[in-house]
Amino acid sequence: MSPQESLSENDFQRLFAMEAEGRLDTLVDQLLELEKGGATPEVVASLFREAHTVKGGAAVVGMPHVARVAHALEDLLEEVRRERRGVDTALIDAVLAGVDAIRALIPLAVAGQDHEAAAFDAEQRLRIAVGGPPVVDDRAAAAPDMPVPAPSSPAPTTMAPPVPSPAPPARAEPGAPPAPAREHDAADGVVEAHGAADGAAGHAEPARATATEMLQIPVHRIDELVRLIGEASAATLRLGSALLERLERDPSSLTEYRDLVRSLNELQELALHARMIPVMSLAPRLRRAVRDLARETGKEVRFETRGEDAEIDRGVLERLADPLLHLVRNAVDHGVEAPDERRRNGKPAEGTVRLHAMQLGSEVVIAVSDDGRGIDVSRVRETAGRTDRSAIEMDDEAALYLIFRSGLTTATKVTGVSGRGVGLDAVRASLNAVRGRIEVRSDPGMGTEFRIAVPITMTTLRCLVIKAGGQAFAIPLHSVRAVLPPQTSAMVGGRAMTMLDGRPVPISSLSAVLGMGNGSHGPAVVVAGLTRSHAFTVDELVDQRDVVVKGLGELLPRLPAVAGAGVQPDGSILLVLEAAGLIERARRIDSGDRSQEAAGGGGYEETAPQRAASILVVDDALTVRELQRSIFENAGYRVRVAVNGEEALVEISHERPDLVLTDVQMPRMDGFELTEAIRKQAALASLPVIILTSRGSDEDRRRGLECGADGYIVKSGFDQSALLSAVERLLGEDR
């Protein structure tokens, strides 16, 4: 084989490896649907199709052993399709094992390593699962459209492709052109289908664009493109600054300059978008982990996903895979109780683990929650207290975060999956690497939720530039809530507080928090973390600008208060601050100050004003509920929650809220029905109702407005400020 030939074959193999990965993911996902009882002919047929396509692809790219295993898998599924074999756990296990084997074999085949024996084993196991003899002589059970080599003979490399193969252009037959018009329709439907899939909570099969519209591009090429566009943007800024300095022309007065900047911005957005993939592309792996671990631990666990439309930079998502896998496994192992324990506690025997994703401004928030036993904070405190006396003094919230410490475990036995005390600290470390952060909430007996917030991309950020301690800093605009004129603060409960929208917010000097002196007495910038707001006084406000954010390199430790830095047109370096890290640091410094005094003094959370408008948030998803609660509470509203329409009506009868924000898809009574029920009551006729949904179809929108909603917000176009302004607008009209 000449090097050139082997190179091209290997290229196809790599391409096939990528494609097979996606197909196997889909296969596993559908298989688990099947296990949940969804053995519809469509699901079975689709399973069969995926196996069949993998088999064909493997054969075409010269992976005969992989093709044989896929073929055995296909045979097994064919038995199910022909209703000659029922769906039971043994079948599911066999198929999963087959999928795992194929996954393991493909890289070996790509690397040119010997994998024949392993493939033979995997094939035998699948044959046994069919119920027939280990080596099948009866080829009648095979796909009828597919000539297959006998397993004993080496597979010929000239085998015809059984299906139109998406990978090798070399196989394209002039006689069989794809039907472009139809496939275009299918691709156009992708976005819509994803949006509509949300309500079905993972039941829908994700639409897949056909190979003719998809181009697989090595990620590094896109990275290079993004980098170059970033450099071009930076060079343009330098050009602007040179124009101003040398020619004394304000660049923004030049149409040509403005055009250049605008085109570059659009280009950048497009290039960044090319790197985006749905957060839920991780779901099949997680679903599989839940399923496997549930079986291993004898638990019944349902895995739900929500937020199919949330997308994130591929590089960021890759870094999230392990942390999410860890959290999901923890939820099954530590969170969800055994079925009999759940029954004793009046819970359904089947526990639920949810993966929810949502875009909030320039961040994606991903939550992993369970309805299990919650985290025993006193045990965490006690365990940590054995090595660290200060842990014993901590309040519940602080103690809960001890679970992220290295080496801490409260599991009394090591189970092979968890209990080793390694993990959550690693999760936090992985998140640090992508400038993400993690928060945890836990209700004893009710469940636990881990919430991860990560930036959607890691390159350009629109920032507010301020000066503190004599140095310029950038604060990402998405975390800036307000800018307040210089003002005096009052001491409340031992903390310096200022007022924002009638609500107290803690205030600190930015330079003091950064350890650069105490001198900031100018305006205050109120920044919002995931759940808290904090005001920082600065020396002065400078301007707003786009900062191409770079990391500070591997040599330096991660600094929670610093997100990165950008090189400015004049060559100086502008540090970009991180809201959550700053707030955390300010709180720590603040509580350090106060620990000198006697304990006591409620935090600002307890001092909510009495006259704040109240909002009833109705959503069956804990994540969405809690996200909205934190958004509105941060904005100074009082928030109550309900999990469905029925419960919402009960809440409303107890106390009329000033506004209702409801999801559409909920058990018992959905959002449309709730809105209609509210409108039927004369006393509630003027109560503003906003429907917040991921169903963006015109029909849904019309139905929402027909049933009397005042606003209809589609989650895919949703951001925190849009939601807040919609609420403010409606409340303004109402008063």
Binding site: L552, G553, L555, P557, L559, A561, S572
Partner: protein
């Protein structure tokens, strides 16, 4: 880009002498990218004390490290020169308080006990130069300490 293992200083080799206060250190010339005169340093608040700040080298953001503090000695008071060295974890700047010079090293005159250094060499003007062990000295763990 993955860099080859950083060569350490050996006698007979060209080295760059880095004056820091009254002391002189030596690094293999092969690890040195360039010397920046009067770097424009941006303070990096909340970072460890050894980090004097960050500065821009043709678009790259490079940390500037206090050579004295890194060795557990007295901190430097100013940063008139930055010696850019390549480490397995990226480029870093080391503060020099006087103009760094290139010399060919004679035989070692003895082992150095300071962690992150290797041998002591006699250089011109009867000065002693202590050779720095860049991969050890400039490791993320050590900088975080």
């Amino acid at each position: 880009m993955a860099s080859a293992p950083t060569p350490r200083v050996v006698s007979g080799q060209l080295a760059l002498l880095i004056p820091v206060g009254s002391d002189t250190y030596a690094v293999s010339l092969e690890t040195v990218r360039e010397v920046v005169v009067d770097p424009r340093v941006t303070q990096l608040p909340t970072s460890p004390a050894v980090v004097r700040g960050v500065f821009n080298v043709r678009g790259d953001i490079v940390p500037l490290l206090d050579t004295g503090l890194l060795l557990g000695l007295r901190p430097v008071m100013e940063e008139p020169y930055a010696v850019l060295v390549e480490t397995p974890h990226g480029t870093a700047g080391l503060v020099a308080t006087d103009m760094p010079l290139t010399v060919r090293l004679n035989e070692s005159v003895g082992h150095s006990d300071i962690e992150g250094t290797t041998e002591t060499y006699l250089v011109a003007d009867a000065r002693l130069a202590i050779a720095l062990d860049i991969p050890v000295l400039l490791s993320p763990a050590r900088i975080s300490q």
